[in-house]
Symmetry: C3
Subunit: 210 residues, 3 copies
């Protein structure tokens, strides 16, 4: 039987793949282009995590299951595309689920490798936002992190909750489930009710010549 | 004497460098900026491949030949720039040649390292599209992969043809030549006649507020 | 006591963090989003350097000091934001300081690892421009490297000066100070007086259909 973190990892890959497929579909990319963008979105965060922590070949290179999950997610999105009346909103929710999962798993694998807690928190956030950022940059969308509704903050909620709960001695699998749920709820609530932290608020002062 | 894959690698670097120089030239970057963009385009895909497969310092760090090829390609493009009446079209053709070469070499080096065929196919495609994607994102162009004419698909044609032919026992060098030719022809035909796969076709449904 | 290269490294991280915070503030990102963008800008170049040279876990993963410096720089920028009447110009100056520092340190660490001088020069330039490029791409700004005022060229000035002076037998710390100063002066002079190298000057010839 697979462990809870393993299942969460598969789930995160699947939902990010769906979000990538939706972004690609909205840009009218062709079928194989959709698969490539979905896959880059799904494995981008974990690839960055494995590169930075220097753990050898990245996870999807040694286990093709991840690519099969991406292919399945794209096929599902394609079959069900007639039902996708509002792909942008669905993309944001799939993105929120991936964000929540990868913030917790990114922090968890860094903690397991023995790094400083501050590093592990940032590692969780960067792992969580990297895949979606690649998706948005490639698809020419405004990165979701620039839209203010608690995006990076929701990832921090996931990372910090997981770290805090495991400090209390809770089993890793249970801590992960709670932390993922809290991060996902934070981001969804922020989307639904337009919640945001105070903004930095500098003026745009660009020269006319720019 | 150099082997065929080695010569193809040099060729791929050279044509991608030319495509980067053309993209930079169209943005009126200065001479050294042109060299930097050309080099990043030329070595970006292979750098990503080496990082993901974790083979030690990336290829151009251990062999400066690649950087000299980039410098030569930029010099050639600069000398011949008066003849470049339609740099966009030339950029697309140079990009198609690089795409074809790197899809085959990316797959070949992954197969040689013993990874799962599915991984090797995707690795070929990602290696092939990464350099051009960096070029387009840095230069502020719409990534070619978003233009529908069989872009990622042509890379898959190269990867899959190479894998298929080597399975039949054909020597690697010959298989590479055939696969590169087929991928290049696919992409050029798609540009010339506007061929495309069916698109995913989701509606744009952005809120007015976006 | 810390060595000069170490102090320069901290300085480079701090000024790039400030530039990232200013870019994020101009886009009205929320406070934690500002911290993430500042940090990615500050550690992006060094992360790429460590990945390409394959030196194990990247520098900030093994020493949390860097993340604390980023947090401090963001806090300072936030406290002092009322005084930032022209954040764009300050961003460019902070960016110039980071560019100068990382061009020299990127070259220095590549030389120390024994790579070919040509590789070390390019490595310095790429390390110097990568963090700012990530910042601009994520924030949706036009990358500074596309604005012609001796951007990549100033990084080359830093790299080449450092290499040249150390060849003459000057101690590394002193060589680094001179090279950083010269690169910074080059870039600032170029901003102030609009200096530029000759541009490549290709026509834009896009088809109407693009």
């Amino acid at each position: 039987m697979e462990s809870i973190p393993q299942l969460l990892d598969f789930l995160g890959v699947a939902v990010f793949a769906v979000s990538g497929a939706l972004a690609a579909g909205r840009k009218r990319m062709d079928l194989f282009g959709v698969f490539v963008l979905a896959t880059v979105t799904a494995i981008g965060g974990g690839t960055l995590r494995d590169l930075v922590l220097d753990v050898g070949p990245v996870f999807w290179v040694t286990d093709p299951t991840y690519l099969l999950i991406c292919a399945g997610a794209v096929a599902l999105a394609f079959v069900g595309r007639a039902a996708l009346a509002r792909p942008r909103r669905l993309l944001e929710i799939a993105d929120a689920a991936g964000l929540a999962v990868f913030s917790v798993l990114g922090t968890g694998s860094s903690l397991a490798a023995g790094f400083h807690p501050l590093v592990c928190l940032l590692m969780g956030v960067i792992t969580a936002v990297a895949g979606g950022m690649l998706r948005d940059v490639i698809a020419g969308d405004v990165p979701l992190i620039l839209r203010s509704e608690l995006y990076a903050t929701a990832a921090l909620v996931g990372s910090a909750t997981f770290y805090g709960i495991t400090l209390l001695g809770v089993a890793e699998g249970n801590a992960a489930l709670v932390a993922v749920g809290l991060a996902f709820a934070t981001r969804c609530a922020a989307i639904r009710w337009g919640l945001s932290l105070p903004a930095f608020g500098l003026a745009e002062d660009d020269d006319p010549g720019e």
